[in-house]
Every structure is written in structure tokens, then in C-alpha cells.
């Protein structure tokens, strides 16, 4: 055990805390586990690691927590990390629906998997001070045919100065060598590129600015307002939710001109995204016509593309703004 393991920065309880923000399926939990294991088993720190899930489904937001302490410090706290030193966002679409940088310390580090710049991220998140680190983990992993979590581990290791990159490298080798020996080299490369290819910018608080103290979020309904028995009295309210952050880079594009309105897409869609309206055809008969896709609910499974007998639906790499620009809103009978 490395007896000289020593944290460079800690909170009141002696912890250095990291929070990973992701959606199920991107490997953030595994990344958190590998990071913590490397710290505890290879570098001799004390540590803990756990996750918070929504309904444990792929595409739903997940958080993974890593707590490090010096070897002699005991870790008793089991509560989630609210005011981390480092936040790593694996999926930038989450910024639309989650306050990913919540509680980040004044000199904290926000790592984002993005092609954008720290300034652009700062503008979107409103982060006042601290360091923003941008890394195109998705681009790296597409190049290397690996997963983004290894690239994110590389960046985390670059930022968290007490983590020895060699320890993580050997950990990655050991993890892959058992089941997928062919993937060791590409994953090490992915890790190294995540370590190297970072765009870092630090922001200081200007005079008069201060970081607002962390406030723990509260549920929308309380014991005075929650309907008796836990009954949901306004069912169908799920239409208010935005599920676009569940997509992992692809969505179906719709070209109406070649659509034959067969409804095969509508029948296979798990998320009820297809919008139909009655219209009269050239002969004056009334039929249902497909108007478009409500991307607010589309999780990008692309079953519709598979089902489409024509070229009306195609798989498209999602660019920023495409979904908003091409969304056809579902028609609901609103109250």
C-alpha cells in the first residue's frame, strides 16, 4: 500500500468528493467504480463509491459518487455528495433537464464531454467560478471504437492530481484483459487521449460576486398538498416531461414527401412520438396523415427507421438544435 497517499484538498470531514452525472448506459457507474477502486486498492486511499438512480432504466439520469479520504481517515457518511470538488458530465444534453453543476465548490472543476468550449459551457450553466474542462470524449471513443467512460477517466485523472495515471492504466488493463483482451490497447489509448485532449479554462470570482450557498432541493408536493393516498389526480401529466436527454447521439429524421402514411412507425414506437392529423387526399377522401415527430419524447431507439418501408425515416446523427428545429408537437386535449 502506498503509505504516502495524501489528498491535496479536502472538505471539513477530510473527503475529496467527485460526482459523475450521466444517463444509464454510458458506463458512468463503471467509471466511478474503477476510479474509486484504483484510489483505494492501488493507491492506498480510503474511499467509497455508490450511485443514485431514477428508475434504473437505460437513458434515465444517473449519478455516481466517489469519496476519497486519506488512509487513516474513516468514512462514515453514506449520504449523496452535494458539494463536490469535481463534477464530470458524461452527457451534455443533461444540462437541459438537470442542474448538473449543483453545489460545485467555488474552486471546483466541471468536466464536460463536449465539442464546445469552456466559455460556451459556462454560458449555458451559469457557473460563476472554478475550472471548466472540455473533452470530446464521444469523438475519441468513436475514433477508438471504445466507450466514453474510459476517455472521461483519462480527463478525471488529469484533473485530480493525487490520482496516478499509471494506477488507472493498469486497472483498465486488468479489467479488460480477462474478458476482452483485444480491447486493452484501444482503451489505454482512449484513456491517454482523454488525459491529453482537454480544453481547460479557469474563472475567478470578480469583486462583489459570490457563489450562492447550496440549497437542498425539495419535492414539489408536501404533506399539505399531496393528494391523499399518493394518488396522482392529474394523470397523463407525463407529457410535461422532456426525455430528449435519453438520446445518445442519434434520432430519426422525417421526410414527408416520401412517406406513404402506412403507420408502421407509429405502431412500433415505444414513446408515442408520431403526430397524426386527418386530412383529405387528392380524391377528397379523409385519411390520417403523418405530420412529423415530437422529439421531446423520442429516445432515439430508431425502431421506426427499421420499420419504415420507404426512405421517409432515416437515422441521423443529432446535431445541436436539430430536434428543436424539426419538432412537430403532439396534439393533446389539454385542460
Amino acid at each position: 500500500m502506498a503509505a504516502n497517499a495524501k489528498l491535496t484538498k479536502t472538505n471539513d470531514l477530510g473527503f475529496f468528493e467527485i460526482r459523475l452525472e450521466s444517463i444509464g448506459g454510458l458506463g458512468a457507474n463503471l467509471a466511478g467504480k474503477m476510479l474509486a477502486e484504483a484510489g483505494v486498492i492501488r493507491l492506498g486511499f480510503n474511499g467509497s463509491n455508490f450511485s443514485a438512480y431514477g428508475s434504473e432504466k437505460k437513458g434515465s439520469p444517473v449519478k455516481s459518487y466517489v469519496r476519497f479520504a486519506n488512509p487513516e481517515t474513516s468514512i462514515r457518511d453514506s449520504s449523496p455528495i452535494e458539494e463536490p470538488h469535481v463534477v464530470a458530465v458524461f452527457h451534455e444534453a443533461l444540462f437541459r433537464t438537470q442542474n448538473c453543476s449543483s453545489g460545485l465548490k467555488e474552486d471546483g472543476v466541471l468536466i464536460v464531454n463536449t465539442k464546445r468550449t469552456p466559455d460556451e459551457i459556462r454560458e449555458q450553466t451559469g457557473l460563476q467560478s472554478g475550472t471548466i474542462v472540455c473533452v470530446d470524449a464521444l469523438g475519441i471513443s468513436v475514433d477508438e471504437k471504445t466507450r466514453i467512460n474510459t476517455a472521461m477517466l483519462g480527463t478525471l485523472c488529469r484533473i485530480v492530481d493525487f490520482l496516478d495515471p499509471d494506477a488507472i492504466r493498469s486497472m483498465i488493463s486488468d479489467t479488460f484483459i480477462k474478458k476482452y483482451p483485444a480491447l486493452v490497447e484501444s482503451n489505454i489509448r482512449t484513456f491517454d487521449r482523454g488525459f491529453e485532449e482537454v480544453n481547460v479554462k479557469t474563472y475567478e470570482l470578480t469583486d462583489g460576486q459570490h457563489v450562492a450557498p447550496f440549497v437542498r432541493p425539495e419535492p414539489a408536493l408536501g404533506y399539505l398538498t399531496q393528494p391523499m393516498g399518493g394518488t396522482v389526480v392529474n394523470p397523463g401529466n407525463s407529457i410535461l416531461k422532456d426525455l430528449s436527454a435519453s438520446r445518445q447521439g442519434f434520432l430519426p429524421s422525417f421526410e414527408r414527401d416520401v412517406c406513404i402514411h402506412c403507420a408502421a412507425c407509429d405502431q412500433v414506437c415505444p414513446d408515442y412520438c408520431f403526430v397524426w392529423q386527418p386530412q383529405t387526399d387528392a380524391k377528397g377522401r379523409q385519411f390520417q396523415f403523418l405530420q412529423g415527430i415530437d422529439y421531446q419524447y423520442c429516445k432515439g431507439c430508431l425502431k421506426c427507421v427499421e420499420a419504415c418501408p420507404t426512405d421517409a425515416l432515416k437515422s441521423l446523427r443529432e446535431d445541436d438544435g436539430y430536434a428543436d428545429g424539426h419538432k412537430v408537437a403532439q396534439i393533446f386535449h389539454l385542460v
Partner: protein, 765 residues
Amino acid sequence: MALQEHEVTGKHNETDLYAQEVDFRSGNEMAAKAAAQINYHIMGYFPITPSTEIAEYLDEMKAAGEHDIVLIPADGEHGSAGICYGAATAGGRVFNATSSQGFLYMIEQLPVQSGTRFPMVLNLVTRSVSGPLDIRGDHSDLYYGLNIGWPILMAKDPQAVYDMNMIALRLAEHHDVRLPVIVAQDGFFTSHQKRRVNFFSDRKAVESFVGETPKGYTDSLDMEHPKTIGPYMNDPDYINNKLQQSEAMYRAEEVYLQLAKEYAEISGREYGLLDLYQMEDAEVAVFLLNSASETAKDVVDKLRKQGIKAGVVAPLMIRPFPKKALQEALQNVKVLLVGERADSYGGHGANMTHEVKSALQESKAATKVLSRIYGVGGKDFYADDAEHFFSLCLDVVAGKEVKAFDYFGQTEGKAEMLPQPVIKPLSKEETTGFVSVEQDEATGKLKVKVPPLRALTAKAKRIAPGHGACPGCGIFPGVETFMKGIEGDVVVLYQTGCAMVTTTGYPYSAHKVMYIHNLFQNGAATLSGALEMFLERKRRGEIAIGDDITFIMVTGDGGMDIGMGSAIGTALRNHKMIILEYDNEGYMNTGSQLSYSTPLGHMTSTSNIGKSQHGKLFHHKDTAQIMAATNIPYVFTSTEAFPQDLIKKAAKAQWYAKHDGMAYGKILIACPLNWKSPDHLGHEIVQAAVDSCFYPLYEVEHGVTTITYNPEDKNKRVAVGDWLKMMGKTKHLLKAENADLLKEFEHEVDRRWMRLKARHENEYL
């Protein structure tokens, strides 16, 4: 994880039998590790969050040949408790793990086992109790266990889970005890949190501590000494059995202390009856169970720096209740706050509060006791929460008025945030007039008219977008395609499962129609109750004659395992309702454990692949045939990949449910996540399942079987392997080393298909 470090503990040196390793593991991993090292004979189990992982880890280790425990997947927790009880009578070592409703479902069996005095170890990974359904950690299940006659050890962190499991087995088997024992750890907070831990490197260390299974007790396999286990015993004898049991329970305290001492000698880790932190001179203290007590210790450190004499008491055993130790620990405490992660509604404080108060009353202590219900439903317990508890104690010391009993951590809510209606209820017109069913007077056969899918897009969906299912989930196209065949008003009941969890995450609901949830042991019975109330209120004129409602229960294949009894009972009573089963071949909501519908050789998290195991060990259940055997008027199978077939059968099911009695239908649906298949291919995979004749499409009307799509006639039959190769969970079956397994599976598929064809040919089969 490769292990590199050896830690020398206790009085032993490095070459010692008792050498330990450092690792980084969760509470569930440590429970599984302990069980594997003990090498129990039998584990009977049923998956439930958050204890499921224990069986999963054990299955993984079993596949890798790391232990010999026979893992028996039960039909429900009641069944798992039965398996464990039977196995315990038969003279070997028995293990189980459960949580929440699972514990409540098995609880009927648990006093049987303690009353007849058969040891075993049950890991209770504590979780909130329904309803509404909550999967997070609290102690409301644990408190139901206080009166079942099982000693209960409390494991506050992953290390203690391992250690307590060692001590628990010895305690259970001890001559002076002979009782089944519970080891309780906090769901998620401990079960799913990895920590730095130690365990014995060599299983022999564990073997030397637990020893051989003690002999000389009742053993149902001891043919030379036949005995009657569990007689019919009324008064005046029963009370004497109970006194024996009561005395054994009290003896468990002393035996535990001896064993803990013995264990400390080999492990270097000491456990007493109470975990006391800064209690020597504490004036204010909190009494908390398990993980929260650890959080409070950090706060004590902080308060001590401010000169406040604060302390923490955490019992490591709550049955028997450590009365004497507690009296001693609290004798100089001015104010104690008992925090409880469960309520005993109406009791002016939950169970621990009253047991602590009762102990203090006997010792005539002047300690004032406050009681707070906190953290129920898994609400996190932060350091500032613990600090608040201490501040309440200090208020009492300062002479302020403080409520003796209260809830802590609740939210009042703001009037302006009251839930507002969002969408209008579906009108009859939106769901009526699309599909029609007529009975041919001459033949009695039903004729169904189904318009093209395009026209059916005008029919309102019963489920709204915005649910949280995984991308490519087959449930929603499956259920909605079925619903296209259903006209008019419906009341739906969803049993616990993916469809329920993803559509009703509070405060949201994706159901546009009337919806009820009940736990999956009992959905069919519950809906039959609602249906009969509808019919009776209609008969009494309390509901307009014209009103008609179709009652539909929606369940997964898991719900048809644990809820099979309820479904069969409901079918035998022939209620006028529909059961729709979506079958994705596993318990996907809890993380892909095998269901009885999982086919042979398929990989799940409890039917792993390794050198000693190659996926599921037995064939898939034929639920449609089981339901057909109840002689209900209509049974069908269908799937999303054949929409016209499915819609037509849905319409028939509704007709039968209105005119004759119960209808049951099964739809095979894709689970890309756990089938390990691409999100976009669900439709094609279930089509291949049909074309391979693994999943034939047919219906049984009043006992007469009709195959509604025969891939052989259409020249579309594909080899079973062509379907299996589409999924990651079955790819291994196509490897040469599994040729025999594949052959056995193909043979079973063919046998069932040939039998079905025979039934199709002959109306009396």
C-alpha cells in the same frame, strides 16, 4: 479485482490461516462473499430490490466454480421461505436474502421456523414497505421482523455485513440458541455502497470458524430416527414451546458475545451489543440503527470540538433487545433522541423508542427520551439532520419545550403548487368505433373487423408519452397495439414491473385512463374485486346501465410467476376481465434475473455463463397452456410483430370478457437492455421468435386451439439458432461447446410446436 494487499490483524502473522485481504466492496458483495466462503448447502431465493444482488453475485461465483451452494430460484418469497425451511429441516446449512415486500410475503413462514427451531441465516437488506411502492432504504420491513422470534444482528457497513454473517451462522446453530437469525443491513446506503473492507483470504479460515454443521439435532433425512416435525399443538402445550423459544432468544445475547469475542481473536474486529461512540461522559445522545448512526458520529466529533458532550448509541443486536447494556450506557445521559426509520403508526413513537423507554424506566434513569421518525422511504440522512437531532436534545437540556414525538424531514408543500389537471379524460368517441366483433349465429364463431394501422392512428392511445422506459422497450408498442383492439372505457391494473415503474414515477403518471397498481402476487384478485364491485353497483343502480367498462390487468412474466396462484384463482372463478401478460423472458425491472419464462440456456443475472454453468438450467414455462387448462373461454398468444393478429385477438378478448368470462393473452416483447440486442431490432427479434416456432401464435376458444400463423405454411420457418444469434444473451448457445444444450432446447421447441399442431388439428386435444 486483483488483490494485492495483505493486512495482518489480530494476533496472527502473515503466513497465518487468518490472513486477510483489503478490497473495495459493497454490503451485498460482502454478504455474498461470506455465504460463498461458508459454502452453505442451499439458498432458496426470490429477487427483490435491493437484496437481489446477493443471489446475483452468488450465481456469478457459482458459474465460475467458486462455491457449491445450490441456488434455487423460488416462485416468490413465500416459496423461497418454504424451500429454506424444508432445507433447514434436512440437516444442512441454509441461506436467504430479501427485502421489503419480499420479507412481508415470507413472514408467514418465519415464526414456523423459529417455533420449530431450525437454524438458518437470512440477510434482510432493509427497504421501505408499500404502498405507495418505494424501493429505497428504511426500516419498515425490519420492524415487522421484531416479533417473529429470530435474533436480529445489525450490520452498519459492508465490513460488518461480512463479519455478522460469520457470527450469525454460529449463533443460529449454537446449542443454547437453535434459532434462525437475521442479519440486517441498510438497503442502498450499505448494500450498494462500496467501502474499503477486509476479508479472510483463505476460505479455510472461515471453515475453521464456522466448523462442520453441528450434529445431533432433528434432521428430516435421518431415516433411523423418524420424528414428527411440526405437530398440531394447542393449549396447554403451546405456551411451553413458546417459553422455550423465549429463553433461547434471551440466551442468544450471551452466546453472541462469546462468539463475537472468538471472532475478534481471528479477525481483529470487535463487536459488542452496542456500538457506543463518545458515550463515556455524554449528556446528549442519539440512538440510531445502522448507517445513520455512522453519519451521526461525524457530527459528534464536530460538537465535541464545541465543548458539547454528545454521543451516539447504535445497537448491533435488536433481538434480543440489549436492555442491560443500554441501561448502563445511558445512565448519565440527560436527553436521548431515538431516531427511527419506520413508524408504528399510532404508537406515539415507533418500536425502538418504547423499548428504550422501557429499559430506562426499569433502571429508574432520569434520561428524557425524544422520538423522531426520519428518513422513511429512503430519504437521505445528512450530517445536518443529525445535528438537528442533537440541537433538539440541547433544547431540552436548556429547559425549552420540545415535542416528545414527531416526524422529521417532511415537506409542507406550497398551496400554489397543488397538482393541476393537464389533459382531458379520454372521451368514449376517441376510443370507440374502430374495431368491431360479431358472432356468427350459425357457427358461433367471432368475426372481427380491423381497419388498417393508418386508420387506427386516429384512435386515442391509453398511455401518454413521457414515460421513462428504456429506448426500444417492447412493452409500450405491445400494450398499445393490444389496446387498439379494445373499444371504449377501461380500468387497467398494472402489477409491479417495468410498465408500472416507468409510467407512474411520482408525481407523474402516463396513464390517461383509470389505473390501479397492486403488488404482483395479487393483481388478478384485486382487479376481480374491482370488476365485481362494478357489476354489483350497476345491479344496485348506483352506476348507469349504459356505462360499460372493460377491466384489464397488465403484468410482466415475473408477475405471472409470483402471481400465478392469484391469476389461476381468478381464472377458475371466470371473472369477466382480461389478463394481458407482456413476456420479456425475465425479471427486467429488478435487473434481469431469470423468470420461469426464461428459456433454457439463456443468460440472465441469476443464470450466468461460466465454466460451471451455461445459462438457465431448466425450460421455459408455458403460461398460455397453464391458463388454457383453467378452461377460461379465451386464451391467445401474439406479438407486436403481427399487429393485425394482435389487434384482432384483443378485440376477441374484449368480446369474451363481456359475454363469457375471463380472457388471457400473452405478448412476447423485446427488452433490448437485457436481451443485449440493438434498440432498433426488437420487432425483428420477436418476429424471429415466432418464425422459429419457439413462440407460436395461436388462440384457444372454449378449449379449441387454432394456430393463427403457421410459419411452415408460409415457408418462413427459421432455425432456432437464427433467432438466438440476434441477442447477446443467447450467442453462447451457438458455440460448439454448447451444441448439446442447443439441441435440447431445439428439441423442446419442436416438441411443444408438434403438440400445438396436433391440438390445432383436433378440437378435443
